[in-house]
């Protein structure tokens, strides 16, 4: 019931955005608005803002004139390719994040020493990191094989995903109420035992939203990494390529962006389903 309402709300919001887009196209100035010589309002001409239905229609037209495949097939193929890279990144990021969180929850000195660096790590732009990671992966030849190029993309995706996972898990692991903490100490149980039986289950409510963030970060990371390493085959490359055709074929550029956004939503949806399964035995009011 609640899920159905959520889907409804999503569709309504989607329709509202489309309506807003069309409304602005009707009311907004054709060549954009200027204030003190600055372009502040976007142009509404078809080349900049195609009609929303033109974007949808473009999905079902051949990718280029005369091509055998429709645009949506390429968008879907690209999204699937990126989805797999992002999932590898997400899983690696989640494992690393949780491992770091456990170490930080267990040892105060690790937390105090590491946490500032983790925060700083997220201020490094991915684009600055890309050439370094690529040059590293070129030099690594595990078991005599070259690293496939996609591993660098997944690695950078993991680099974005691990941070929310680590912070959310740490918060969950250390947020045990005092009563619970005293009880566990009164049981004289080892930390490892309480970690698995009590601390992780208690951390689920703060881990779930953190993992949703990590999942969307992993998708963004994968897309940006695809673009900055020049890896072909994914939705990131498609966004870049088709954006280059924006003057000749404006709706096409938007179909790729549309695919990238949809991919993020699907990934968040998958995590949300997982979350619902994990949270099924909890009091209902705490779910956001």
């Amino acid at each position: 019931m609640k899920a159905a309402r959520r889907v409804m709300m999503f569709l309504v919001a989607f329709a509202l955005v489309a309506a807003g887009w069309e409304l602005y196209k009707v009311l907004g100035p054709e060549e954009g608005g200027k204030l003190l010589g600055w372009q502040v309002l976007p142009r509404t001409a078809g080349s900049a803002m195609p009609h929303s239905w033109d974007i949808v229609r473009r999905l079902f037209q051949p990718e280029r004139p005369g091509a055998s495949r429709d645009a949506w097939r390429l968008v879907l193929a690209g999204a699937w390719f990126t989805f797999r890279l992002a999932m590898v990144g997400f899983l690696v990021g989640a494992v690393v994040g949780v491992a770091l969180a456990v170490a930080m929850a267990r040892y105060g000195i690790v937390r105090r020493g590491l946490l500032p660096y983790l925060a700083v790590s997220q201020t490094i732009p991915l684009i600055a990191l890309a050439p370094i990671v690529v040059s590293w992966s070129d030099k690594l030849h595990p078991f005599g094989h070259d690293l496939p190029k996609w591993t660098t993309v997944s690695l950078m995706s993991a680099f974005l995903a691990f941070f929310p996972a680590a912070v959310g898990t740490l918060r969950g692991l250390t947020s045990l109420p005092e009563v619970a903490d005293e009880l566990l100490r009164s049981y004289a149980a080892t930390w490892r035992k309480t970690l698995i039986r009590v601390r992780f289950p208690a951390a689920v409510p703060s881990m779930a939203p953190a993992f949703r963030l990590a999942a969307s970060a992993s998708v963004i990371g994968a897309i940006v990494a695809e673009i900055s390493t020049g890896l072909a085959g994914g939705i990131g490359r498609l966004v870049l390529e088709w954006a280059g055709q924006v003057t000749s074929d404006p709706p096409k550029a938007y179909t790729a962006a549309f695919g990238a956004a949809a991919l993020g939503l699907v990934v968040i949806g998958v995590i949300s389903v997982l979350e619902m399964v994990l949270m099924r035995n909890r009091p209902k009011e705490s779910t956001a």
């Binding site: 109420p177 009563v179 619970a180 005293e182 009880l183 566990l184 100490r185 009164s186 049981y187 004289a188 149980a189 035992k193 309480t194 039986r197 009590v198 289950p201 208690a202 689920v204 035995n281 909890r282 009091p283």
Partner: protein, 290 residues
């Protein structure tokens, strides 16, 4: 670990006090400007099977004393033994069970799995701990709710689950810190009778902390009155209400006499009220409240 030698003879253990405190003091942040003398020179015994209540104004260190016995904090001076063992040893052996004002149940576990938790951490097998947990739930009359989750129960029921959990490992001693403090009066009186029944049935010794004078008198064999800053024992009232206390016991003259006795003893120490404590806290924090 303790000053006295540990005799090997087991039969002696039964005659040993459930709790023995000798000259126990506790100072938080010792040697700093924020040093707080929480407890000074406490000497107190709880006999095996005895029900002892600690009562006193806020800040008299009742809860601190309970945590010292539970080995959750260490005393600054003095010796704490439980059934002849050091506090640390007793904690490792789960010789005591604990219950607090909040039930402290884990929301993702069913009622029966909450009761099982201490046994699970102790390494009991699945079948054995389930059987024991169901026994304990029967004791608190909640066996029909074993598959529920804590948040589906009322506050009083949650507190009963917490008591069942505290008793699961069959401890010789129960340490209870205002366990009925958050319950309404009706539920509270019912829970008090239930607790007495359970303790009589199981022969468990209890050290109970409360703010309520009638609760202390009704439950206890002995009420220990404490005074604040630093916390110390100022007096004792032996209730002699008899084993089979029932609803009528609360209306007997003897009960009222004992309540009056405890009340006067508390008045005698001139303990601070919560308001006075709050004002003093502001003063020490440098806030002028004139």
């Amino acid at each position: 670990m303790t000053l006295e030698a540990e005799p090997a003879a087991a039969p002696l253990a039964a005659s040993r006090p459930a709790v023995a405190l000798t000259g126990v003091s506790k100072t938080f942040n010792p040697g700093t400007s924020r040093a707080v003398h929480a407890l000074a020179d406490i000497t107190l015994d709880v006999a095996a099977g005895e029900f002892v209540t600690l009562i006193g104004p806020s800040g008299c260190g009742k809860s601190t004393l309970l945590r010292l016995i539970a080995n959750l904090i260490e005393p600054t001076a003095g010796a704490v033994t439980l059934g002849g063992k050091s506090a640390a040893h007793a904690r490792a052996d789960q010789d005591y069970g604990m219950a607090f004002q909040q039930a402290g149940l884990f929301e993702w576990r069913t009622v029966v799995r909450n009761v099982e938790l201490p046994l699970e951490l102790k390494g009991w097998s699945r079948g054995r701990r389930r059987e024991r947990a169901m026994e304990m739930l029967a004791l608190v009359k909640l066996e029909d709710f074993s598959k529920h989750h804590p948040w589906q129960l009322s506050g009083g029921m949650q507190q009963r689950v917490a008591i069942a959990r505290a008793l699961a490992a069959a401890p010789a001693l129960l340490l209870m810190d205002e366990p009925f403090g958050a319950l309404d009066e009706m539920t509270r009186e019912h829970m008090q009778s239930e607790l007495l029944r359970i303790c009589t049935d199981t022969g468990t010794s209890v050290l109970f902390v409360t703010h309520s004078i009638p609760e202390a008198v009704y439950l206890s064999d002995r009420v220990v009155v404490m005074s604040p800053r630093p916390g110390r024992v100022t007096g004792e009232v032996t209730t002699d209400l008899g084993e089979d206390r029932g609803v009528e016991s609360r209306e007997e003259r003897r009960f009222f006499e004992k309540v009056t006795e405890v009340r006067e003893m508390l008045r005698g120490i001139g303990g601070a009220t919560d308001d006075e404590l709050a004002i003093e806290r502001m003063r020490t924090a440098g806030v002028d409240d004139r």
